[in-house]
Symmetry: C2
Subunit: 363 residues, 2 copies
């Protein structure tokens, strides 16, 4: 080990064995006498042997890591999912490389290229902006891609998703149950299926109630876009007593805009979000939302990917159930003749921690 760390050749020399025997002993494969294994282990420890992952990858044309591509690390929903994915990956002995793409197709393509060039053939992708053709090209050349929570273009990759449509339905149903009729919606980017699905759930439930869902306001899942969309909604003059936002971040932004306009939440306007990010629990008022099953999503996606890497067939896609979490941002609509200065403080003083969770079966 002249320059850097010891290699299996150094161990071979030290033990008087051959490199191949050392390699086998280290990995515990083949039929070896207990003695040799012990000898190898001992000198490996003594010489501080560290396997060279690069050499191994070159020989094996593979690696023990997977990549996790995500469009916007600044969206608080993702970090939670990242943690869950890492946890599950570790369960399989795999390390996770995070690739932050900002939703830029070029960045995605570059990352994919880089990963292929590094022999990393497993990718969990939270929303891909590249074309279906490009995805198929990659899959065709051996890369395994599992879309997580957000479908890939044209269903070109296996996907594991929550039931966004049911979530939209449940959120809207909750507001209707509370007595609201004028329910506005701020949706996410039009090109994302999660946006359309959440909107469809909303639309379906509205129609079932005999109400015209109209056209949603459009946001891009950022807090600022929620803020802006709510302002536009207010200035449009279209009356509404409740607001279903396609994600929590936009809901938070919308609440900020509503309050700045002197509208109390939930006193005058009720707001429902989507995702159940940590932040929503500590917001004032605490956010009523649709909870996505993070651990389950991560588990299913990673297990699926590992299966694919082992050459197994992809199972039929399934939709994971979401839950309604009722907190403080929703209430009954104000009576037609609303008292003008509804005390905003009421929501702030409300006892905290009380929350109610309901899943699909309860509907």
């Amino acid at each position: 080990m002249p320059g850097g760390t010891a290699t299996i050749y150094d161990l071979a020399r030290a033990t008087g064995l051959s490199p191949s025997t050392v390699s086998r002993a280290l990995r515990g494969i083949g039929d070896l006498s207990p003695g040799t294994v012990a000898r190898v282990r001992e000198s490996a420890a003594r010489l501080r042997y560290r396997p060279n992952a690069v050499a191994r990858s070159l020989a094996l044309r593979g690696s023990d890591s997977i990549a996790l591509m995500l469009p916007d690390i600044a969206n608080p929903f993702f970090p939670a999912l990242v943690k869950a994915v890492q946890l599950r990956a570790r369960h399989h002995g795999m390390t996770v490389l995070l690739c932050n793409t900002e939703g830029v197709p070029e960045a995605e393509a570059e990352y994919l290229e880089m990963l292929a060039s590094r022999q990393i053939q497993g990718v969990v992708a939270m929303g891909l902006a590249i074309t279906a053709d490009e995805i198929r090209r990659r899959v065709g050349s051996g890369m395994k891609i599992v879309a997580l929570d957000r479908a890939a273009a044209g269903g070109s990759a296996v996907s594991v998703q929550a039931d966004h449509r049911a979530g939209g339905w449940m959120a809207t149903d909750h507001l209707l149950q509370r007595g609201h009729r004028a329910i506005a919606h701020i949706s996410g980017p039009a090109q994302l299926t999660v946006s359309t699905e959440r909107w469809e759930g909303y639309r379906d439930r509205m129609r079932q109630a005999g109400i015209d869902p109209g056209t949603p306001a459009r946001g891009d899942f950022t807090e600022s876009s929620g803020h802006r969309a709510a302002q536009e909604l207010i200035h449009s003059g279209r009356p509404f007593t409740a607001l279903f936002c396609a994600n929590d971040l936009m809901a938070l932004g919308a609440i900020s805009a509503l309050r700045s306009a002197g509208l109390g939440v939930p006193a005058q306007i009720s707001v429902v979000g989507f995702d159940d990010i940590e932040l929503g629990r500590y917001a004032v008022p605490a956010l009523t939302t649709i909870r996505q099953p993070l651990e389950a999503l991560a588990r299913v996606a990673v297990d699926l990917l590992v299966g694919l890497l082992r050459g197994e067939e992809a199972p039929a896609p399934e939709r994971l159930a979401v839950e309604l979490v009722v907190r403080e941002s929703t209430a009954a609509p104000p009576r037609p003749v609303a008292e003008k200065a509804a005390p905003l403080a009421s929501s702030g003083i409300a006892p905290r921690g009380g929350e109610e969770v309901r899943s699909r079966e309860d509907f």
Copy 2:
């Protein structure tokens, strides 16, 4: 290229040249006739040649990527820094691997091991929990580590940091200027130097004003810890009209707790945070805070790391200047005989967008 992609051997065969000539042509080094270069380029494109990064790493004992280790991807301050680091790294033609450690020393050690085993020798670390000895061991064996924003144990790695102490000083000064005397502090984890430095800035300014700083409440930089710490502060009975939190997330949690307790911000209590995360701009009330120079931090850190990887000497460490950003969460303290039911609505209705930025020189 039987199995997968084309190699330089395939190109050699296709062009009638030797592998080494192809290798040189591809990288544009050595003296080659223009014709050969063109021929190689052409068939590289035609055969869809993609360099194998693994083989290259093995031959070169190096790689063109650096790692970015961070303790908690869920803290919104980090994603912004991550983006800045990635941008700067790309400027040097390097890709960034994100390693999320959850602040667990074992995870850090494992990642470091993994990186070394992958020939990735450059690391930007935002706070390392492993021991100084371990860090020195790594540095001793060729790994280049630059601590970003948070110092590494015992100054064992080069570090690039904002002037946290000045930030604490400025935040406290701002509150004193507004007329506050009873200023409480919620600090971060005791083992992090950023926590102590921000606290020291607070302490120094308080003493300059002839006020006993007392003992700070303790949080861990999460929103929930800020919420809890504020509750304890309230229940402790110790009177205060202003609160300086060691980061924005805790400030947001504290505000939530204060309002739940019926205390208006800033009507009854003024709050200052630290970091200037995006969320603070859209919170109600918008958060007064200390802004860290993200781009500068990232630029200095990445450039420094790249320099180290090239064998250059580390320059003297420098402290980057922070700024005070005045928004809506700070105001003058209420008059001694405060009207009990200060209208919380006032803050919500306050015009938004007005903010004032001040840097060190203004003090």
